[in-house]
């Protein structure tokens, strides 16, 4: 390390890695992973979300697993709640759709209407 610029560079990279441990609100992506969700492929969905976030270099998003909420026929369910916005529930989300949700909704803030199950009222556990 030669200069302060080098130190800043390391800090920016490292911050991504520990940001989850800081308190404070951030965008949440909840994947419902009861038995029904897992059977419908929620594991692949969540893996795709994490992978896409990593590819796009987004560190400040919480990806949470939740239990079954009773909408089993819509599994895999993915709920996105951007900081300060209403949460949106998407149904039948496979890997490809999951990646689109990350790019369009999580990052750009555009709701993908065609996959929405229930908009504006969170029926999630939180």
């Amino acid at each position: 390390m030669k200069s302060i610029a080098d130190l800043k560079k390391i800090r920016e990279q490292a911050r991504h890695n520990i940001s989850l441990r800081e308190s404070g609100e951030r965008t949440q992506v909840r994947v419902y992973m009861g038995t029904c969700g897992i059977a419908a492929g929620a594991r692949q969905t969540i893996a795709a979300i994490i992978d896409e976030l990593a590819k796009q270099n987004i560190g400040d998003v919480e990806v949470l697993q939740k239990g079954c909420i009773g909408l089993c026929e819509h599994e895999p369910l993915v709920e996105v709640e951007r900081k300060g916005e209403d949460s949106v529930m998407y149904g039948h989300i496979d890997e490809e759709k999951a990646r689109r949700i990350v790019t369009r909704h999580v990052i750009d803030g555009v709701i993908l209407d065609e996959w929405v199950v229930n908009c504006g009222c969170s029926i999630g556990i939180d």
């Binding site: 390391i10 890695n17 520990i18 441990r21 308190s23 239990g67």
Partner: protein
């Protein structure tokens, strides 16, 4: 970039290591692997979280869920339920032990023990992986030294510390800025900066936790102080009884060297710096600064008179500044955020925070950082949950063998250097030992005297022989052979030892006696005149007796007594021979009819 959806933090402080956290860690890795989760879950071993009595501790982020007393068998459940299915495991969560209903508290920040603290020094312990320099840098690590080296002159660093009002956290409370100023002004090309990590007070472990949990903050603080005084060499003197702290510090120094943060021409500023460890051999007296410096020089760890002060002639005869671990750990935060920021914490003349190691008869044993000026009641009752088992609080011992005890009526005293001194105690390094009503204060004084007498280096007569004589008198009193005039003898000895000892260890040695005499003189009198130990602790003053009405002459006590002091016949109450009895209490525990009492 590798992205993890969750971070699992395993507390890796000495306390949790002792309760088996490393096995839990290994099992965690195994279970994650088994469930195919290794790629998405980050497992981090951190420094001490602070709640040492409920370890091993796991914390799961981003939910900030706090699990306590996690055993190897519990790991599979946490992984399968919480990590895999997103259903946190209630039964392993933190429980508020003060509330009557068993209530589980999910989140780390909802726990009183944590949310009532102000963490400046401990900001990173329990949050980062102390073996990874990047995690320290992520939390603004090495920004302060970068700022100092590129934007500030050494004297400006001195001024900033002076303005912050930081006082030495090792005990005496000498203003840290003035010490740096003395070092800065001292003549000479060769100077040394020393970190005193020879923490030896019984029950104190603040410095250890800091060295284990955030070693880079010590390195950065040492760099700042060294830059301020003009030293290119620093030593951290750490006791050998802290192998984990030594290990983590060695790793940290190695990483800092690899990053060019230690070495020549740091940040292109022309500042060269080298930091080395010196491991002590286990003598308490080496926490005294002159003795410590002799130990660094390779000589016997014995104190020498001051003056000359270390800032004039310290290690190898060169000007040296010596500060305690916690003092040094404050410096990066002060330089980075400014003295005005630091001044917002604490009270007049006592700025900032202090870390306390709370132990003894207390619900939550552990490490607590609070603003100076916080009352003892807040620390002991609100944060640490008070005295367990429905017992009454009697006193708190503060400052270790050089400190004193503070009884219940002073619980609302704000903790400051000056308030503690006026009560005959002292801040010391920050060990707080809480005592309930079953503690005998004479026995407590005897315990500390036993410690200082053992640890006296023997160089000067008052300390070597004086502490021995005081200990003998205390032993006599606790054994039931106290004589009239013993209290006066103790007072006379205490005064002359305090006046004439060579170093701080000897001068402060009588403090535990003076302070217990001040607040609990009646207990001494009860021992000597009344041949009674009010707390029922001193075996020499106890009689074990069999209550005739209750005894059914079953003979269990006679069989269990290790010294055959109990005898009797069928149909008649048994009798204890008081001369043979050692008051071990085994018979009391074994009696099925509660027919044996000790008083």
């Amino acid at each position: 970039m590798q992205l993890y959806r969750a971070h699992v933090l395993v507390c890796g402080g000495t306390g949790c290591v002792t309760s088996g956290c490393m096995d839990v860690h290994a099992e965690l890795e195994k279970q994650l692997e088994k469930n195919g989760l290794s790629e998405e879950i980050n497992v981090i071993v951190t420094g001490c979280v602070g709640t040492c009595d409920i370890g091993p501790i796991l914390m799961v982020y981003p939910e900030a869920i706090f699990y306590q007393k996690v055993q190897v068998e519990d790991v599979a459940e946490i992984v399968e339920e919480h990590i895999l299915k997103g259903r946190p495991v209630n039964r392993l969560m933190y429980q508020d032990k003060t509330s009557e209903i068993a209530e589980f508290i999910e989140k780390y920040y909802d726990i009183d023990f944590f949310n009532r603290q102000t963490r400046i020094v401990l900001r990173n312990t329990g949050v980062i992986d102390s073996t990874k320099i990047d995690e320290y840098i992520a939390r603004d690590g090495y920004q302060a030294i970068a700022k100092a080296l590129t934007e500030m002159k050494p004297i400006e660093v001195v001024e900033e510390i002076k303005k912050s009002g930081l006082r030495g956290r090792g005990g005496g409370g000498f203003p840290a800025g003035i010490k740096l100023e003395l070092g800065h002004k001292a003549d000479g090309d060769q100077k040394y900066m020393i970190c005193n990590a020879d923490e030896g007070d019984p029950g104190a472990f603040m410095d250890r936790s800091l060295l284990e949990g955030d070693p880079h903050s010590i390195i950065e603080g040492m760099m700042l102080a060294s830059y301020a005084i003009g030293a290119n060499q620093g030593y951290v003197y750490v006791r050998a009884e802290y192998p984990l702290a030594v290990d983590r510090l060695v790793t940290a120094i190695k990483q800092a060297k690899e990053y060019g943060l230690l070495g020549d021409n740091i940040f292109g500023s022309g500042f060269n710096y080298s930091l080395d460890l010196r491991v002590g051999a286990g003598a308490f007296v080496c926490g005294e600064e002159t003795a410590l410096m002799h130990s660094i020089e390779g000589l016997r760890g014995e104190p020498t008179p001051k003056p000359p002060y270390p800032t004039d002639a310290g290690v190898f005869g060169y000007p040296s500044v010596i500060n305690n671990v916690e003092t040094i750990a404050n410096m990066p935060q002060i330089i980075l955020n400014g003295s005005d920021w630091f001044n917002r914490f604490g009270v007049e003349n006592n700025k900032g925070t202090k870390v306390f190691a709370v132990a003894g008869n207390i619900l939550n044993t552990g490490l607590v950082e609070v603003e100076l000026g916080t009352t003892l009641r807040t620390v002991i009752f609100d944060i640490c949950g008070g005295v367990p088992n429905g017992k009454k609080f009697k006193a708190v011992q503060i400052g270790g063998p050089s400190g004193g005890c503070i009884p219940a009526e002073y619980l609302d005293t704000p903790i400051t250097y000056d308030s503690l001194t006026s009560l005959g105690a002292m801040m010391g390094s920050g060990g707080l030992i809480v005592m309930d009503e079953d503690t005998c204060m004479v026995d407590l004084a005897r315990f500390f005297l036993d410690f200082t007498q053992e640890e006296s280096c023997g160089k000067c007569t008052p300390c070597r022989i004086g502490t021995k004589r005081m200990l003998e008198i205390l032993e006599r009193i606790t054994e039931g052979h106290g004589q009239p005039g013993d209290i006066e003898k103790l007072e006379e000895l205490a005064e002359s030892i305090g006046d004439s000892s060579f170093c701080g260890l000897g001068r402060a040695a009588p403090n535990p006696i003076l302070s217990t005499l001040r607040f609990f003189r009646d207990e001494y009198e009860a021992h000597i005149d009344g041949h009674k130990c009010p707390a029922g602790i001193c075996k020499g003053l106890l009689n074990v007796e069999i209550i005739e009405d209750k005894c059914r002459s079953c003979g269990i006590c006679a069989r269990i007594c290790p010294v055959n002091a109990i005898a009797g016949q069928r149909g008649q109450p048994y009798v204890v021979d008081q001369d043979t009895c050692t008051r071990c209490g085994l018979c009391i525990e074994s009696c099925p009819f509660d027919a044996i009492s000790k008083h």
